[in-house]
Subunit: 198 residues, 2 copies
């Protein structure tokens, strides 16, 4: 590849750090920015700097926050008896958008021995501490239905046996708007055995 | 969509300005950055700031540069008799990588009356000035083979009639590694009529 002026090359190589962005897309991003009003670049620069400076991890639930304790944890209207355990901070937004109104605990990932993600790398200890201190009656293990997610659900459900809490997981079934024809056997099997009364 | 902490929301909305990046991808980018070492964000912020501060348009060929006159225009080893006219600054890199060693003129776009891109919006006047001043013997019109590119080639070739320069365009033909079966009729027709002696 030809060398572009240095400031362009620098940003191109940094943009390739983003997930799914290769050199060609990164070049496209940078040249697109160069065609925008200069204020766009300045605003993006200061937004990154602010992300760097202002975002911390919530002391309680471990999601991203601008305060030591996040908005969700400080929200008195939330149901303290329901605790939803998720892998990533972004899952908090996804579940909130779906209407969940309990509280969260962000594990920081899912178990994956191959990638070296063992229980001690995750926020398991802090979860157990919370369960001892908070009036939680149900723990929802809201992980992706993949190998890592299933392993994490298995592991956590064992850890939670000694607590007097109900332990649940998200239902598997047909996604809204999907087609029977393209559903995999496991999903369809679950959708049949857990069928709803109409 | 749920509100994330403000610094996250701000950067998400700025990332959606990038071509091909929707809200979901932008969220993915920001949460990915949050998982990286903090230095990545700071470096990206300063790279954007430097792009904002340091990149200008070359006085001669109108490509992006960190100097008033770009490296390519100051390079004494380049063939001054060959002038390649391109739509965008990034085309300069693309053609250089393919081995072109003449000089460039960046038009700043291709003609598109529908989008309001008329000749006066492009660097046409500065091209004609250069042709009067520089020892150019051949002008290569290196535009995309699409409607706008073809319109620009037509328009420029008329403007260049009064100059004693050879006016050429890039060859159409089968891309390397492609399959006859998927070639369109125009491309294949050109590839036949302009076939090479082996």
């Amino acid at each position: 590849m030809r060398q572009y002026p240095k400031p362009i090359e620098t940003l191109v190589s940094l943009f390739t750090y983003l997930p799914g962005v290769g050199p060609k897309t990164a070049v496209r991003f940078v040249f697109y920015l160069l065609k925008q009003p200069k204020s766009t670049m300045a605003r993006m620069a200061s937004a990154l700097q602010e992300l760097h400076d202002a975002v911390v991890t919530c002391d309680v639930c471990k999601t991203y926050s601008t305060e030591p304790v996040c908005d969700t944890c400080r929200d008195g209207k939330r149901d303290k008896s329901l605790l939803c355990v998720v892998a990533q901070p972004r899952d908090v937004g996804t579940l909130d958008a779906a209407g969940f109104s309990g509280r969260y605990h962000v594990l920081g990932g899912a178990l994956s021995p191959i990638e070296g993600i063992t229980p001690d790398k995750l926020e398991v200890a802090s979860l157990l501490v919370r369960l001892r201190q908070e009036p939680v009656r149900e723990v929802i293990l809201a992980f992706n239905p993949d190998i890592e997610g299933e392993a994490t659900i298995m592991y956590l459900s064992k850890q939670l046996q000694s607590f007097s809490v109900r332990v649940t997981r998200l239902a598997r079934g047909l996604p809204a708007g999907s087609d029977l024809e393209f559903a995999d056997e496991v999903t369809l099997g679950d959708a049949i055995s857990r069928r709803w009364e109409i």
